[in-house]
Amino acid sequence: MINKKLIKDLLNESACSHNKDKKSSCDKPKPGATSGGCAFEGAQISLFPYADAAHLVHGPDTCLGASWETRATLTSYEGENNTPLGYCTNVTTQDIIFGGDKKLAEAIAYIVEHKKPKAVFVYETCVTAMIGDNIDFTCKEARKRFGIPIVPVHSPGFVGGKNLGSRLAGEAVLDALVGTREPKEIHPFGINLIGDYNVTGDMWQYTPILERIGIKVVATLSGDGRIEAVQTAHTAKLNVIVCAKSLITLCRKMQERYNIPYVSVSFYGKRDTSNAIRSIVNAFGDEAMSKRAEKIILEEEAKLEERLLPYREILKDKKAILNTGGNKSWSIASALQDIGIEVVATSIRKATEEDIAIAKTYVPILMKVPANEQAKLIDEHNIDILLAGGRSLYTALKKKVAFVDVNQEKKVSYGAYGGLENLAIDVCAALANPVFKLAGKVAPWEN
């Protein structure tokens, strides 16, 4: 069952600074003027990277039919990788009339029998919440029968947006998995990585560096994640939130329950990556480790600079405008600066108070209504490249400046030191491409 009190608490989360802001993503969606995904999507994004668990969506088609195998969340799991697979109970009229519990139980049994997953997540969606299926009970019975975690996730889309769904997913993991297994040994410098889903392998850009410093990743939520690992997450010494404020509630609760402190970091760009490593290391207060970390940071930065050399020549004196949402408004800005680009303006249209405060420290001009402002700014500042969502392509063509769609599903990682080179390659390619001056060319029969 959906827990109304929990949802209210999650929306009022004290550790979350943006709930004072009326325009925040926590607000109710406005009919006819809403574009974001639903709570189910948020939950799915947060949990699907557990490749050793099956993800069963209890509902009709729309929820899963349109969303499976869409995110490049990589995994090193050697068993059958469930991340690109889709399981759906495909609720039909029949089930709506007679209830979907039996079908759900059968579907779980089918999956356990045929796929042998380490756990099954069961996602409640709008229709199955509406018809009042007793998902908790069905999951409990299945758990007894099969002896593996069968975890209900109460995330029907009508309760709210992606952000809330991600919180609900965090709650499900905390309630059903964390603390249900004891590890063989407890690492003195163990951390949990929270909120990095390892899209295009982002996480792997920095986890080897952390390991070299002497830090062990105990569990993740949920990039390259494993069920058995997250069951021992309570034994980590530190929670590291990677660019995901939605999971602060989870971290706060883990602090209360297991006494695990948390830090919030970003691994975009050189400076932020180095700072992220320092925040993690500092939390342990181990001098030898801090020294080791500084040495490794120096090495990595030097290596990166060497690789960036050929691009620096092209990118120096280049000016950019960034128009994207959320924490990307500053994290990508910071990365762009690290490859030598001057970021003249960034959009804060959909950013939270906190994001705006951070963005201020990176970029001089903050655009409130970028659609109206960016064209003028391109002229005034002689901008070379616009990094934005697809909608802004028309502005770029009109102004004949290079364009990168930053909201598109990315194909390569831009994360940490290694990913920065990929960003430099893509930006250089856009700058060198004549297409942006050509595609908007006026036809010979028009003037």
Partner: protein, 422 residues
Amino acid sequence: MGELKVMKPLHVNPLKLSQPMGATLAFLGIKNCMPLMHGAQGCASFTKVVFTRHFNDPITIQTTAVNDITAVIDGGEKGISEAIANITQKVTPELVGLFTTGLTETKGDDIKGACALLKEKQKIVYVHTPDFEGGLESGWALSVQGIIEQLIEPSVECNKDKVLLIPNVNLSAIEVEKIKESLELFDFEVYALPDLSDSLDGHLGVKQGALSSGGISVEAIKKLGDTGHVITVGRSVKKCGELFKAKHTQSQHHHFDTLTGLVACDDFYKTLLTCKGWSKPPASIQRWRKRLQDTLLDTHFALGKAKVIIADEPDNAYAMAKALREVGAHVEAIIAQRSEVQELFTCNVSVGDFEEVEKILPKMDMLISNFHGERLAHTYHKALLLRGFPNYESVGVGLRHNILYEGSCTFLCEVNNRLHKN
């Protein structure tokens, strides 16, 4: 051959897309239209993302964003009228296409009543498209039926030279355009409903509009009542033609299950010749027919030995299977949803998902399916042809042309060459 029923309590790697998604596409083929999905926000968001990535073009859609409170107490009117108010504050749609989802159908919302209340404020067509029934094709077809019922004005006239083309959802923008052009060669005045050839054909506009970027105009739809011939392509839209004919009894209905392959195209042109009382089609069509004859012979050698599995929406799977059978290919088909067309297949066909595809694939040479087939084709080292929704891997999906004599040639050659490459 009928259906091999798959008895499974779930879909593993679903092939099926939902009815509201089909409705969305239908309304995007009408000019200055706003598709409005009546449900919680996520369905519209997923739909937008899928089609944006598929077409590589911006997709217009809004949602009534049903949330917790309204879900429990009211009948839906409040959300719908609020949505219309918020939409019309920013833009002036000539039409709002309102369609339901599983959530609002389970609630039992009275969308007809809600639309009646809003009649003065906004022209709306309403459609019931719960996602626990049907699929992409039926969502599209139900929307067309809604438009025929609710928009077309009665007419006493009958213009024998006016054609209404109703394509099924699988036809690409260019395919719709090619049929229209072909009909124009027969001196018909042609309208397509919906008309994606003018909206989702991948053209560069001046800016990104807030409404559908093209399509048949509402004005033109209203005046379709005097249409002399209604042509339906694909079993999923046959009922639309029948409905039109029932309402406009002086018109003639011509139905074609497919326009791919020699036999199908011959049927099509024979009908047009009869309508016009002509003895021969224009020269370009005759020429393309000869090219197709030659292509049949050129490809029969490789394709005659080929084993192909098709996983797609029923109408599209049927069209491709039939064309491939003409050159002797061994075909198996998995279709996304039930359809009357499954009775017509001359090969094995069943309703299923990609788990079923995976069971058959090892014995086959080639897979034809949406982008989800890529991983499978790769795993089993099979040739792959991407068709159907969604396709995130190719660009130019709106430009694909696999129908009529010309497109049938392209189709057969492409299958042949893909097989060869593998």
